[in-house]
Each structure stands twice: as structure tokens, then as C-alpha cells.
């Protein structure tokens, strides 16, 4: 069922509906996402994916109560779970209700960064550091040079010695190239990103939903 038009504006759930085409309200808490998630094991996720969806459902219900909604948003956006999601999509492809759970995790990560609510835990920090390093690399040079990525990432997280032995072995196997490849121009991509973001803002105006008709 298409709920995307009917969720209260400003909620994380409405963003989820817009990005994934499904509403958190579709979740009936069967727990299949939690049951099949390779990361949802002891000591990893602080909230199971099922619980994340439950928080979003509560957020919708309490949208008219700003303090309550904000607290629920803090819990969902501040969870480690999105940062521990491996993006394997097992949840999304198995969900009996067709909820794109992995897509929900994407939205939560993006939104937690935007609102500055992301969990400051070591797990979340290290995952985010990698993403940031990676993105900077891509947008600067167009392609990823693994050695540069690893070096920058390690500098960022100050975790210099993990895997120190693997490097030389990889080098000997010819698997690490010391010199980065020539740079590739990403101006066009950045321009497209800007135009796309501008367009989305227009869409997210009061009148129209993104999905359109038909």
C-alpha cells in the first residue's frame, strides 16, 4: 500500500517513505529482518532493525507532540544500528510487507549526519570515518586508490596498527599499488548532484509528493 503521501511532514518516517516508497507503518513487527540480519548478533547492533522500525512508527503516532517526537527521533537517529548495517539487503528482499529496511538505514545515516544526531560511539565513528574518507577520495580523484584510502582512514581514526602485517603481504602479491592512478574529473558529477538536490527541494515543497501519479 502506498502510504508515502500521508505521513506527517518533518518526520524521519516521511523521508523514509519518500526515499524507499514504503512507509514504516507497513511493518507488522514480525522480526524477519532481525532474524536474518548478519549484523544483528550479540554485541553488535544496539537496536534490532525491528526496533528501529518500531521507533519510526511511534514517531509517526506522536508527530503532533514535538518533544515526544524529538526524543523518538533522537533514539532512532542516534542508534548504532544504521552504522553497523552491512547493506547486504537481506532484510529488504525478505520483508513480507515489502519494507525496504536497508533503505531505511540509508535514510537514518544521512539524516543523522544532517541533524548532527549520529551516535558518537566508536562503532559509529569508525564506520562514518570510512565513508567520509571514501567519499572525499571519490569526489576529489574520481576513483579510489586503496592504499591512499587505507592510509587516510587510519590517520583519521588513529588506528595505525591494525592489519599492519597484511599490507606488506598484499604488496608482495602485487595487490597494493603504491602510486595512485591519474585523477578523473568529477565536476560533471558534482554539478549533477547539485541540480538533483535543488530539484528534490522543489519536490519536497508542500504540494507534490515525489512519486507522482500512475
Amino acid at each position: 500500500m502506498d502510504h508515502s503521501g500521508s505521513l506527517p511532514t518533518g518526520t524521519v518516517s516521511s523521508l523514509v517513505a519518500r526515499a524507499t516508497g514504503t512507509s514504516p507503518l507497513a511493518c507488522y513487527q514480525c522480526g524477519r529482518c532481525a532474524a536474518g540480519c548478519p549484523q544483528n548478533v550479540a554485541g553488535e547492533m544496539d537496536l534490532s532493525p525491528t526496533q528501529i522500525l518500531r521507533l519510526l512508527q511511534l514517531e509517526i503516532a506522536f508527530a503532533t507532540d514535538p518533544s515526544q517526537a524529538a526524543s523518538l527521533q533522537r533514539r532512532a537517529l542516534g542508534a548504532d544500528t544504521p552504522w553497523l548495517c552491512a547493506g547486504c539487503q537481506a532484510c529488504s528482499s525478505r520483508c513480507p510487507q515489502g519494507v525496504d529496511v536497508a533503505g531505511v538505514m540509508d535514510v537514518l545515516r544521512q539524516e543523522s549526519l544532517r541533524r548532527g544526531l549520529y551516535s558518537g560511539s566508536p562503532q559509529a565513528r569508525s564506520a562514518m570515518a570510512l565513508h567520509k574518507t571514501f567519499m572525499e577520495g571519490v569526489l576529489r580523484r574520481g576513483r579510489i586508490h586503496e592504499l591512499t584510502l587505507v592510509a587516510l582512514y587510519k590517520l583519521r581514526t588513529m588506528n595505525l596498527f591494525e592489519d599492519a602485517l597484511l599490507g606488506p603481504a598484499m604488496f608482495l602479491k602485487g595487490k597494493l599499488h603504491l602510486l595512485p592512478p591519474a585523477g578523473h574529473d568529477t565536476t560533471a558529477v558534482r554539478r549533477a548532484v547539485e541540480s538533483l538536490k535543488r530539484r528534490r527541494e522543489e519536490w519536497h515543497g508542500p504540494a507534490a509528493g515525489e512519486k507522482g501519479s500512475g
Binding site: 532474524a35 544483528n40 548478533v41
Partner: protein, 674 residues
């Protein structure tokens, strides 16, 4: 000029809140042909109807337009009211101001303007309403019941007991259906076969029931009261008149390792035989696909063994035609096989079985004599995991409905397993436990509280084999949903109930509707739950949707009483909203030119040919004629007629063109000026 009365209903606040009903009535008075217009709080109430009746008599109305709720709601009510005042009921017209105006708009002014236009269109239409009289149809007092499961058996017996002859068609060799396969029935745990087989025998031997087993409905023609049904009697290769059911033939059959359909593939059978020992009729059938005689012509052992010479390898299918006046569809359901679940051990692991297979394992007449042994190695399983909602409530797979019976039978399975093997550990993975019904909730509470069945609120993500056992991935959602991996020796899937694979094909033969899942549709889910939209056809049992045995039996009896009720009348009266071909006095006779485009598109074969001759008997032309008994009033012929020589009562071209013209009239007015 027509004298039309317009009656605007407030429906309490339902219409009046958004539509200015008095304003609509006032505007109606301006419309051509309107003699009186009033608004009233509740027109469907007794005083409301009295108001209409009085106006008809006092003003001498030649037609009425009731502006109220949807015609689907109260058309009959108001037509009756009109009739009571001496007006032909078909001169009463309903304008829908509630469902399609006041309830869907918020701006009072816009809604009022729209209401006026709706009324205007209906007034225009009403000017062309013609008085119609119901079509009278003769009646054959004989019934057909399709399907010989518990629903069909019950319906056939009830109709027969009511004094009406029944033809009971069952496509498998024996009556019984799925109920015959069950071990015990919830919530009483009484033996299914023990309560069913006496009813089977009764149906098989009843003087007014003609049992056509191993037969299928091939074609249905005709209409309520007058169906002609072709039934294909499939070749059994055994003469049922000679056969005594002694069993000598199947004892001699060399093909002993075929998978038993009745045992859901868990037991064995021979190429000739009855599906199960209590079969009715107790006459064997040869499975042509697997019979050596049919494959190589080198066997014939059954033929030699038969003491009465009943085996006939040359038997052919036989078509018979039956005349009946009513039909009960009781064709039942199927359950999904485990191959539909690649999530669960790729859908082909021997120790992942369906609930129906578990019934056969638990049944004393089953392949293990009632002991729960797993199919792979015959061991008794120490842990059995039952997975509920397998394929039900899964919109992502195109099946959103609840199969309704699984919660109860899974509780029963877990209990039976525990009763039969005390050290065993039954674990049920469920999302909700739905146990509405007399004694039902008490039953599942007994399973958890007394029989030690563990219920985990979870939907399994995957089952995979490891170390000779099966690992079931789950998450206890009541504990926050952390992943758990349960080891099991046997996994039982409560697989979804689904319509018969050929349900849609039969529906098309019968001309009845079905929903997007393929379940047969009733006319009204609450008030007419056993009738099909096609007159004279009724529903019983799970062909309409998931049902348990008590509900099935109740509905079958309801269908039977509907059939008996239909047959209580001397002849049938049908709605006269049918097509008719233009006729005129000579020299024109009819503007029908005889192209018969109508005949080519009519789904009911209702178009006949009529020869028009002059006084000397010379043929002038051949024109179309509508058989009003067959016509269902779809109007497809009217659209196909290029000359517009055919028209549909109640929806005539004149009425529709008039309504379109009325919409245009209001177009002339400047918007908002009222």
C-alpha cells in the same frame, strides 16, 4: 412534459453537512419536467418513504429522482416505495449525493453545485425511464453441487433432505476432500475420519443424490433456473457397475512404490487402487500415467486378478448433460507446497514438511501409523520447529491474507507431537496467535500452559541444513529481536491456503466472480455471503476464502437452504434491465440490418435470429432478438451495434445522451452563480 418529483435526502448530517439540500431542491424546481422538489432529513425512514408515496399520488408524478446515498444502498427501498404508490418501480431514479459527493468533498459551495448537476443529469435521465416488468423464467427443480469435500457433502445432503434431487460432482475418485486427510480436529481432538466417513457413505447412498465421482464440470450454459451442465466422466478403466471393491486388483499391481497423493507424498500406493481405504465410492481407478499396461502393454495383472471382469483398458471418457436450476460451488482449496519457500532450506529438504503432511504423519491411517517420524531417516525428531504464516500475510509475495486455520492446527500439531513423544520439544514461531472461535483460545493456552509448547514471537528468516539437523534463523521480538539460531530435527510449515489452481477456469465456466487472490466472490460480504453475483449460483466452503470445518459446514447448509428457497417459488422473476432490439411497424419493421455484430460479442449467447416475413411468407429480413432469460444486461451488444438498433433498458442511449446534455446545460451557467 414529464411530471418528475425530486426528493433530496439530508441523510442526517451525512449529506447536509456539505451539501445545501434545500438549495438543491430549489434548483431542481427549475429543471425541465420537474413538478415538485423537496428535501427531507431521512428519506429511507418510514415517514420519508411516506412523503415520497404521498407526493406521487398527490402531484401525480410520472417519475421520481431520489437524491440520497449510492443506488447500491437503497435503490431497492425507494423503488419499492414508488411501487407502493402505484408507480412502476423502474421510474424511480437514484442520484448519489452521499458516497460520491458529500463524503468526498469539503467545500460546501462546490459540493452543492456538483449535487445540483448530479440531480440535473438524473432528472434528464428520468424523463426517458420506461415502465418495466420483471422477466418471468421457468425453473428446473434440480441442483448441482461441484466438489465432494465436507462442504459439498453437507450441501448435497441438506438439499436432498429438502426433497430436491442433487447431482454431486467430485473430480477425484472419492468423496472426502481435505478433511479425510486430517488426523484429529481442533479444538476437540476427535478423529476426523471417524466423523467424516459416515457422512460420505450417506451422501454416496442417498436416494436423491446422483454421485458423479472422478468427473469434472466441462461446460455450463443457461441461466438461473435453467442451467445445462456438461459433465466429463473420466475413464476409470474399471467398470463401476461390475466392480465390488474387493481389492484383488491392487494387491496384484506390480507398481507399488508410487507416491501416495492422499498421504501427501509420504506414503506409497499402487497404479490401480482407491485413494484411501474408506473411499466412497469404493471402486478403484487406474492411474494411466504410471500403469505398465498403458506404457508397455505388458502387464494386465489386475485384469487377470479381477473375479468379475471389471477391468477395461479401453474405457473412454464419457460426457453427460444434466439439467439443473441451481449450482453450489464447493470446490475447496489447496495448500502451498514447500517448494514455494526457497527461504526454508531451498524448498526441497525432506525434513521440511507442510502442515498437511504433518497431518498424515500424525494420522493413525497414515504412512507411519500415527508416529511422528521424520521423512529423511525415519527417526523420531527431538525438536520440531513449527513455522506459522508460511506464505500467508506476505503482500511482498502477492498474498496478503491470513489463512485463518493455521494458528489452531499448529497448536494442535505441537500438542499431538508432545502427546505422542513426551521428551520432544515443540517450538512454534508465530507472529500473532489468532484463535477466535468457541473453545479455540482455551485450546492454544492448553498447548502452552500444559503441554509445554514454546511459542516464540518471530518470523523465520531462513532455514538451512547443518550437521544433519536444520538450523532455523529466528529472532525473539519480545526480547528486542536479537538473532537466534534454533536447531531442529523437523520443520513444519503452516503453509498458506490457496485457491484451487483451476479455480479461475471453473469460475469462468460458471460465470462467477473471484477476487485478486482467486477466491470466489460473494454478492455482499456480510448480508449475502453465500450467493454469487450470477443468479442461481451459491458458494460453500473454502473456495470462497480460508475457513475451518465448522464454518464450512455452516455455509454449506446456508447454501443448501438458499437453493431450497429458490426452488420454493413456482417461477422466477428477473430484473428487466435487459437489452432489446428495435421493432417498428411495417414497412420498417426494425432498423436492425442483421449484421449480428451483437451476436459476436454477447457473452451469454442471448442473441437469437428472427426472420421477418411479409404476409405471403416472403422473407424480408433477418434481425436480432434478445432472449431476456439469458441476457444479463451488460450492454456490450449496444456498444457493438453500429446502427443503434439495440438498446439496454435502464441504460438507454437516450438516457445517457440526455444526461450528457444536462451536464452541458449547467455548463452554460456562470460558475458560482446560484
Amino acid at each position: 412534459m414529464a411530471r418528475i418529483g425530486v426528493f433530496v435526502c439530508h441523510c442526517g448530517e451525512n449529506i447536509a453537512r456539505t451539501v445545501d439540500c434545500a438549495g438543491v431542491a430549489a434548483a431542481s424546481l427549475e429543471m425541465p419536467g420537474v413538478a415538485t422538489a423537496v428535501d427531507y432529513r431521512y428519506l429511507c425512514s418510514d415517514p420519508g418513504q411516506a412523503l415520497i408515496r404521498e407526493a406521487i399520488v398527490k402531484v401525480g408524478l410520472a417519475g421520481v429522482v431520489i437524491a440520497s446515498c449510492s443506488p447500491r444502498m437503497h435503490e431497492k427501498t425507494f423503488r419499492r416505495a414508488a411501487e407502493a404508490a402505484g408507480l412502476n418501480p423502474y421510474l424511480c431514479e437514484i442520484a448519489n449525493l452521499r458516497e460520491q459527493c458529500s463524503w468526498v468533498h469539503t467545500d460546501r459551495d462546490q459540493a452543492t453545485r456538483k449535487a445540483i448537476e448530479i440531480v440535473r443529469a438524473h432528472v434528464a435521465r428520468a424523463r426517458y425511464n420506461a415502465p418495466l416488468v420483471p422477466v418471468r423464467v421457468p425453473l428446473t427443480r434440480r441442483a448441482l453441487v461441484v466438489g465432494g469435500g465436507i462442504a459439498g457433502i453437507q450441501a448435497a445432503l441438506d438439499i436432498a433432505e429438502g426433497g430436491v434431487e442433487v447431482v454431486l460432482v467430485e473430480r477425484s475418485p472419492s468423496l472426502g476432500g481435505h478433511m479425510a486427510q486430517l488426523s484429529e480436529t481442533f479444538p476437540t481432538l476427535d478423529c476426523s475420519q471417524c466423523i467424516l466417513t459416515p457422512r460420505m457413505v450417506e451422501a454416496g447412498t442417498h436416494g436423491r443424490i446422483r454421485l458423479e465421482a472422478y468427473s469434472e464440470v466441462e461446460k455450463v450454459e443457461g441461466y438461473v433456473g435453467n442451467f445445462q451442465v456438461s459433465i466429463r466422466r473420466k475413464a476409470r478403466y474399471v467398470d463401476p457397475n461390475r466392480c465390488t471393491g474387493c481389492g484383488a486388483c491392487w494387491q496384484q499391481c506390480p507398481m507399488k512404490k508410487l507416491k501416495s497423493v492422499f498421504d501427501e507424498g509420504l506414503g506409497k500406493r499402487t497404479a490401480i487402487g482407491v485413494p484411501f481405504p474408506q473411499a466412497v465410492p469404493n471402486k478403484p481407478v487406474i492411474d494411466r500415467e504410471n500403469c505398465i499396461q498403458f506404457k508397455t502393454k505388458k502387464c494386465g495383472r489386475c485384469q487377470k486378478a479381477c473375479p468379475v471382469g471389471a477391468i477395461d483398458f479401453d474405457q473412454q471418457d464419457d460426457l453427460v448433460t444434466e439439467q439443473v436450476g441451481a449450482i453450489v460451488a464447493a470446490t475447496g482449496f489447496q495448500v502451498l507446497g514447500k517448494e514455494a519457500f526457497p527461504l526454508y532450506a531451498d524448498g526441497d529438504h525432506p525434513d521440511v514438511i507442510t502442515g498437511l503432511q504433518f497431518e498424515r504423519l500424525a494420522s493413525a491411517s497414515g504412512p507411519t501409523g500415527g508416529e511422528i517420524r521424520r521423512p529423511s531417516d525415519g527417526e523420531i525428531p527431538r525438536t520440531v520447529v513449527f513455522i506459522q504464516c508460511a506464505g500467508s500475510r506476505e503482500p511482498a509475495l502477492g498474498r496478503g491474507y491470513c489463512s485463518k486455520i493455521c494458528c489452531m492446527y499448529t497448536a494442535k500439531h505441537a500438542m499431538l507431537y508432545k502427546h505422542k513423544y513426551h521428551p520432544g520439544r515443540p517450538i512454534v514461531l508465530c507472529m500473532d496467535v489468532r484463535t477466535g472461535g468457541k473453545g479455540y483460545d482455551e485450546f492454544w493456552r492448553r498447548a502452552t500452559e500444559q503441554d509445554g509448547v514454546l511459542y516464540i514471537r518471530s518470523r523465520s528468516a531462513r532455514v538451512y541444513p547443518s550437521g544433519g539437523r536444520l538450523v532455523v534463523q529466528a529472532a525473539d521480538t519480545l526480547l528486542g529481536g536479537e538473532r537466534m539460531e534454533l536447531e531442529a530435527d523437523l520443520v513444519v510449515l503452516a503453509t498458506a491456503m490457496v485457491p484451487q489452481p483451476d479455480a479461475r477456469a471453473l469460475a469462468r465456466k460458471l460465470g462467477i466472480g473471484y477476487d485478486s487472490d482467486g477466491w470466489y466472490s460473494e454478492v455482499h460480504p456480510k448480508l449475502r455471503p453465500v450467493e454469487c453475483a450470477s443468479a442461481g449460483i451459491f458458494l460453500a466452503g473454502a473456495c470462497q476464502g480460508p475457513k475451518d470445518i465448522p464454518e464450512t459446514v455452516a455455509q454449506a447448509s446456508a447454501a443448501a437452504s438458499k437453493v431450497l428457497g429458490l426452488f420454493a417459488a413456482r417461477e422466477l422473476l428477473r430484473e428487466p434491465l435487459v437489452s432489446r432490439v428495435h421493432r417498428a411497424p411495417p414497412p420498417v419493421h426494425s432498423i436492425c440490418g442483421g449484421c449480428f455484430a451483437c451476436e459476436q460479442v454477447c457473452p451469454y449467447r442471448a442473441i437469437e435470429r428472427e426472420e421477418i416475413r411479409d404476409r405471403k411468407g416472403n422473407l424480408i429480413k433477418v434481425v436480432a432478438r434478445v432472449n431476456a432469460g439469458l441476457c444479463q444486461g451488460c450492454g456490450t451488444c449496444v456498444a457493438a451495434c453500429r446502427a443503434k438498433a439495440i438498446d439496454l433498458e435502464g441504460f438507454t442511449d437516450e438516457q445517457i445522451v440526455a444526461a450528457l446534455g444536462a451536464l452541458a446545460e449547467s455548463n452554460v451557467e456562470p460558475a458560482g452563480a446560484r
